[in-house]
Amino acid sequence: MDVLINLSLNGLATGMLIFLLAAGLTLIFGLMDVLNFAHGGLFAWGAYSGIWIYTSTGSFFIGIIGAILTGMILGIVTERWIIKPVYGNHVQQILITLGLMLVLSEMLKVVWGPNQISAVTPDYLSGSWEFGGIIIIKYRVFIIAVGFAVFLAVQYLLKKTKIGLVVRAGVMNKEMVQSLGVNIQRVFMFVFMIGAGMAALGGMLLGPYSGVIYADMGMEFAILAFIVVVIGGMGSFTGSVMAAILVGLSGSFMAYYVPDLALAANMLLMAVVLIFRPQGLFGTKG
């Protein structure tokens, strides 16, 4: 029983980290029809800058803020300079964001060196609680809480505010929104900023979770996030949450019970979903 609870918590925490990455991807894809292959680069930049700020200031909170800001700034730059010239051309989008991914992860090595950097949990989040034999690690609960809070915040933003209304309408029909006098360019930039900020936050939180950060983690997690987005249905926010948790849980259970298959499990899951339901579990367009 305690193994089950531990595995579930573990999976949920990983799932939330993937969610932070995948939600940005799916928002950007849903609204702008851009599959941002450089998203993992923003994630890794968030991790590096956040951990760097955290270790130099000593405050975990400032580190988180710094990571989010870094992600947002990088997001704006990416949207303006890299993605804007290739709107509407899928092949070029794939190619150009992939190139950016290369640059972003190499730049990390230039700024912070090629070696992996260790990250420690702040005092007030390290350690664990014990309830009758069940050990609950505080930091995992923290990640789950943050992920859930972000989910609620974005959900609120999308469902209850005017910006969210515009964004949701933009996903449905870009031209119509524009003809109603909304500056869709600005909405694009805003969504990109939010998505990038979320990715950076995910990266930052991953640092103390896995203990080390390294330059290639962007690509590794990006693949996971793509899988999540595809399983959940591209452009579906709810789908990406569900799929992220599903992938996180299946990953943690597989790693415990059938470790040999763990690496391939997500890929297989995605392949099966795509073959039978090309639009994903919650997707609407094929």
Binding site: F29, L35, I82, P85, V86, H90, V91, Q92, I94, L95, I96, L98, G99, L100, M101, L102, V103, E106, M107, K109, V110, M219, I223, F226, I227, V230, M234, D260, L263, A264, M267, L268, M270, A271, L274, I275, P278, G286
Partner: protein
């Protein structure tokens, strides 16, 4: 494009490359050029997908890797004799054909984004397989193997690589100029229209996938033989990315472009690594690479050969019918 003048030029270049090892005896140059030929084969096979059919595959490394591992396993398990080598080639062709057929059938129904991801996932599966199936692949570390005698000499191997490249070039040239190749290009230009003309688009895409997969497998064989070593790196994304870069920089949709791209990229790999001794920033040469690549996609989407062709095309148009050339250039931009 398929004019006599170009053919003569190709012949001269091929002849020059063929006599090169006998007049200019530099070991490192021979190795580098062999590497260029091998990757040119890979890039040409990728160009069949990206340039001629208009689909972005992120799983091209899986065919390359199948070739590399097949020859490696055969040479390791059995005696490194010519007959076993030929058997390995045959098995590679069969395996890559079967895998590309089934993967193509499963994935090519999907739209560009989804297709790219699913192929990435399939390539990932093969990477995991190569890591986990230790009894055959020796896991992450890979293994060395011996090669048959006729592949041992550097000069001979150079000529074999050159020959393979030329043969693949001629075959693919023939393929792309055939009616079938024309249908593929029609799919690239406008998929819906091609479908409405009565062509089964999926069927043609699968054919393109099989052709490109088999040739990528052959490139993989040559690559493994050139190193006499194989490890899981042949299945990684880097291989696919290299093929992609070569195709883009050389010129999408032209086979010569793929060869030129392979040359440029292999040589710049080589030089930039050398430059790392001069200044540390060149150790991170991938940055320059990435930046050039982004700029190429943005401003130079047709690559070197493509842009040259467009220039030539425009000039020809301008001299004959000036009014229409205006319309063409506007339509293009």
């Amino acid at each position: 494009m398929f004019s006599n003048r170009m053919n003569i030029l190709y012949l001269i270049v091929a002849g020059f490359l063929a006599v090169l090892p006998f007049v200019y005896d530099s070991r490192s140059m021979l190795i580098l050029l062999s590497q260029v030929f091998i990757f040119a084969v890979l890039a040409m096979s990728y160009d069949i997908l990206l340039g001629y059919t208009g689909i972005v595959s992120f799983g091209h490394a899986m065919f390359f890797g199948i070739g590399a591992y097949t020859v490696g396993v055969f040479m390791k398990r059995f005696e490194p004799e010519t007959s076993y080598f030929l058997l390995a080639v045959l098995v590679t062709i069969l395996l890559t054909a079967v895998v590309s057929y089934f993967v193509g059938l499963l994935t090519l129904r999907l739209k560009s984004h989804f297709y790219a991801m699913l192929t990435m996932a399939f390539a990932g599966l093969f990477l995991v397989l190569a890591e986990k199936w230790r009894t055959v692949t020796y896991g992450n570390d890979g293994f060395t193997f011996r090669v048959p005698d006729f592949l041992k000499d550097r000069t001979d191997f150079y000529l074999i690589c050159l020959g393979s490249m030329v043969i693949v070039f001629i075959l693919l040239k023939r393929f792309t100029n055939s009616p079938l190749g024309r249908v593929l290009q029609a799919i690239r230009e406008n998929e819906q229209r091609t479908e409405s003309l009565g062509y089964s688009v999926l069927h043609y895409k699968v054919i393109a996938s099989v052709v490109s997969g088999v040739i990528a497998g052959i490139a993989g064989i040559l690559y493994a033989v050139s190193l006499r070593f194989v490890n899981t790196s042949v299945f990684t994304m880097d291989i696919t990315l290299d093929a992609l870069l070569m195709t883009i920089i050389g010129g999408v949709g032209t086979l010569v472009g793929a060869i030129i791209g392979a040359g440029i990229i292999e040589f710049s790999h080589h030089w930039l690594t050398e430059l790392a001794k001069v200044h540390w920033i060149f150790e991170r040469w991938i940055i320059f690479f990435g930046i050039i690549y982004i700029l190429a996609v943005m401003f130079f989407p047709m690559g070197i050969v493509g842009s040259l062709q467009k220039l030539k095309f425009r000039k020809k148009k301008k001299t004959s019918i000036p009014v229409e050339s205006e319309a063409v250039s506007q339509g293009d931009s």
